[in-house]
Symmetry: C2
DNA sequence: TTGATATATGTCGTAATACGATATATATGC
DNA sequence: GCATATATATCGTATTACGACATATATCAA
């Protein structure tokens, strides 16, 4: 349906560039919204990850690290900040005492609820545009 | 089609969390790919932005900053690094001597071409999943 | 059980980079 | 032709993830 060679067109670069721009705007919106609630972006992501976690196993430092794509010891530091700020409680797992079980405080629940509503609203604005760009790139090459 | 109250369900948090996880994986893939080419992620974004720029006006420090959502003086520093590494040429605009016109070197063109191909391939993998999640969130609330 | 190894988390110094505050050069408008 | 705005640049600072290393607990084989 398109060019026969495997070379890239100006439109290809433009599409990818626009995708990244759109993603940046979303991330920027998100970071600003979190900041307004007094939360650094990464701490917001940690709260969302803990709250959005499905599964029988409780959330731990290690699984948080996996989900955030950071090293376990970086998650340790991140959780340290969250506990210090009163957003997360950290309890030693009773079965495996190496593990730390994480849970949100009421304070975190309230903040995250507001942020999540705002984010879903923003996504509704952004989604159609994003889907269009993704479809374009799918068809590409 | 869903709950009547404006409250969030566990599934809402889960969907948003999954969206962010998917975005992180893409960004992480991208950062790793760039790193393998010797480029920090932000420098890669700068190159892509310059290359993907459409419009009569040439790319400048200021418009790069806008597109990257960073402060102009941060773009100055970023471009400084790119010039030092031989990826970008910076020339004073002839009409408006305050402006710096940016262009990619051949070295940058080659690297960016490889990276862009890889990225488009990756997006083809990720796009269906991403579109699904976005649709879910669109229908939501 | 014991000892060896693996796993989970924690500590501390470092590096990278965007920012704030500030500065300079050029343009533009009255 | 000055006052103000715009575009870019410089430098010190703050944030945060990481590498290197350390500790505690678990697991498994002999």
């Amino acid at each position: 349906m398109k060019k026969l060679e495997d070379d890239l067109t100006d439109a290809d670069y433009e599409a990818l560039s626009t995708l990244r721009y759109t993603l940046r705007r979303f991330m920027d919106f998100s970071a600003s919204a979190a900041q307004q609630e007094g939360l650094p972006a990464q701490q917001h992501q940690a709260l969302l990850t803990i709250r959005g976690h499905r599964g029988v196993e409780a959330m731990t430092i290690g699984s948080l690290a996996e989900r955030l794509l950071i090293a376990p010891h970086s998650a340790t530091e991140l959780v340290g900040r969250l506990v210090a700020a009163g957003y997360v409680s950290r309890t030693t797992d009773l079965v495996d005492k190496r593990k730390q079980t994480l849970a949100l405080t009421e304070k975190a629940d309230a903040v995250l609820k507001r942020l999540t509503k705002t984010h879903i609203a923003e996504i509704k604005e952004l989604a159609p545009q994003l889907i269009d760009i993704l479809r374009d790139l799918q068809r590409d090459l």
